[in-house]
Amino acid sequence: MKKIQNDFSHINGWGIDADPLDVPNYPMKKRTENDNKGMTWERPAQQAQLVEILHSNERPTLSAVFGTPHPPTGLSGKMRRWAFGFSESHVMHWLGLLLADRVQIMEGIADDLKSGHVPNLFEEHGGKAELKHNAAGFAGKVICTAAIVGLAVALLRRR
């Protein structure tokens, strides 16, 4: 037999949202008269487009509002434009974007350096927290990296 308790008095609010008359009790589709009329709703005012916004080719226009930070730029931007030529159903759309993300990491570092900012990789990775809360793990990583570098140097010297 299933092991089920039957006294739930210790649980504040037990069963309060269980409505036996409300069957099924999960959110049902709320059908409205507009349900199958297509894109006919009265659209919110359109946000003015002042920067390049890529839009999914599975919709005819931009949505009424959109985020404007970080428009596509550089090589990663070119890759994103290319990726947006494919529908969301096409793997190249997403792979293209993931690759662009990787390319933009390098562009980000170049931009940092150009503006005279040397990124503090230790801090950006949360190194201080790692030292504080996982000193052993951190030491392990340092030793491991040192060992690999040492080994590589030794091997290269031997050649």
């Binding site: 308790q5 949202d17 919110p44 950006e124």
Partner: protein, 382 residues
């Protein structure tokens, strides 16, 4: 905060000040924001079109600083909680209260509505792990925080509580049902708690982090098991349910699930699938025939390896969505005020926004027994 690449973020004082870009916008000065399990998918570089320089953060509250010409429901100085979904309130999906699936808030993808600070795939909006944030459709989403409400509770009502509740709601729990929740993060904890409100007869949570299992056992008054010591979690659930399977299973883990070398390598390392789907795999196989699997764990857009044949052969119902925060808020505020849900009890870390890089690392690496982190900008600490 400023995203620089996988596992790299930094606090940046030179981020541009957001401005009103649409007559329905508001600018909100953030007083608290949270780091969410969903942010980890961004932080780990798993979400396509996460551009360098993006500010994350979809769970935040704050004070209205400025409103656009058409905003009538809010005024400068209001303390607001802002649902993580950006919703127009007019499209056919908003009309159906599917506020997480709005069609007027995301140009980049039709597969999801706009979400604050959640990559260009979710609309390209900067998020609330910042001092100021642009809030579109300010008349629709934001809600003035009730006078007597704790602000830690308020910030958890922007995502965690509604998502946990909707996970239980979508599971169609009937009184007496055995509910298995995969994941003891903030979302799984809240789903377990809310399962009782629907009359669950038994609630079981599965994870592998002992400190979270210990927490959920007390907080949600449920059973909690470590899948590392179970050998086969599906078999365990079958045995403990008189060989029938759970009535409902909830996936509150998403695409970075641990527990399967195959999924970790193909999904998280090689990205041949949208992350690891082992928790969903377990959920499908551990639920009884004709049962319901409710998915709130987030997965990427390219697809995952799951036993869909078993879904067919067992006649399962899968239900899933981004939580519709606005739809659920009135009911959940009532539950919080009546003491049935105590959201702020899950907060373990309160961190100055300037230390965002450390905060991300701690939450991501599950250091220092972290469950939920709140970031507090300098202006809110005075």
């Amino acid at each position: 905060m400023n995203y620089r690449g996988p596992y790299r973020v930094r606090a940046d004082r030179n981020m541009p000040m957001p401005r009103i870009e649409h007559s329905g916008d508001a600018i909100v000065r953030v007083t608290r924001s949270c780091i969410c399990g969903s942010d980890l998918h961004l932080y780990h570089g798993m979400v396509p079109d996460t551009r360098i320089g993006t500010t994350f953060g979809h769970e935040f509250i704050g004070v209205v600083e400025e409103v656009g010409a058409d905003v009538t429901n809010l005024k400068v100085g209001d303390n607001v909680l802002v649902p993580f979904n950006i919703a127009c309130g007019k499209c056919v999906f908003c009309e159906q209260q599917l506020f997480g699936n709005c069609h007027e808030s995301n140009s980049e993808a039709t597969a999801v509505g706009g979400i604050f600070g959640y990559s260009h795939t979710a609309g390209g909006f900067d998020g609330g792990q910042a001092e100021y944030v642009r809030v579109p459709y300010a008349d629709v989403g934001p809600l003035v925080i009730p006078e007597n409400m704790d602000h830690d509770d308020a910030v958890l009502l922007t995502d965690v509580v509604p998502t946990g509740y909707q996970a239980a709601e979508m599971a169609g729990i009937k009184p007496g049902d055995t509910v298995v929740v995969f994941g003891a993060g903030p979302i799984g904890i809240m789903a377990a708690k809310c399962a009782w409100l629907f009359g669950a007869g038994r609630v079981i949570v599965i994870d592998h982090l002992e400190y979270r299992l210990e927490f959920v056992k007390n907080y949600a008054q449920c059973e909690a098991y470590n899948f590392r010591s179970l050998e086969d979690p599906v078999l365990f659930i079958k045995k403990t349910t008189d060989w029938m399977g759970a009535d409902v299973c909830i996936d509150a883990v998403g695409c970075e699930a641990a527990g399967s070398a195959f999924h970790t390598i193909t999904g998280r390392k090689m990205m041949l699938q949208s992350g690891s789907a082992i928790a969903l795999h377990w959920a499908i196989n551990a639920v009884k025939k004709g049962g319901i699997v409710s998915i709130v764990g987030v997965y990427g857009p390219t697809g995952n390896i799951i036993p869909i044949g078993n879904v067919v052969n067992k006649g399962l119902t899968l239900r899933a969505n981004q939580a519709s925060v606005k739809r659920l808020l009135p009911k959940l505020i009532e539950h919080v005020q009546a003491g049935r849900i105590d959201p702020k009890a899950i907060v373990t870390h309160r961190v100055p926004l300037e230390e965002v890089a450390d905060a991300y690392h701690i939450f991501s690496a599950k250091l220092d027994n972290c469950i939920k982190t709140i970031l507090i900008p300098p202006s809110a600490r005075k």
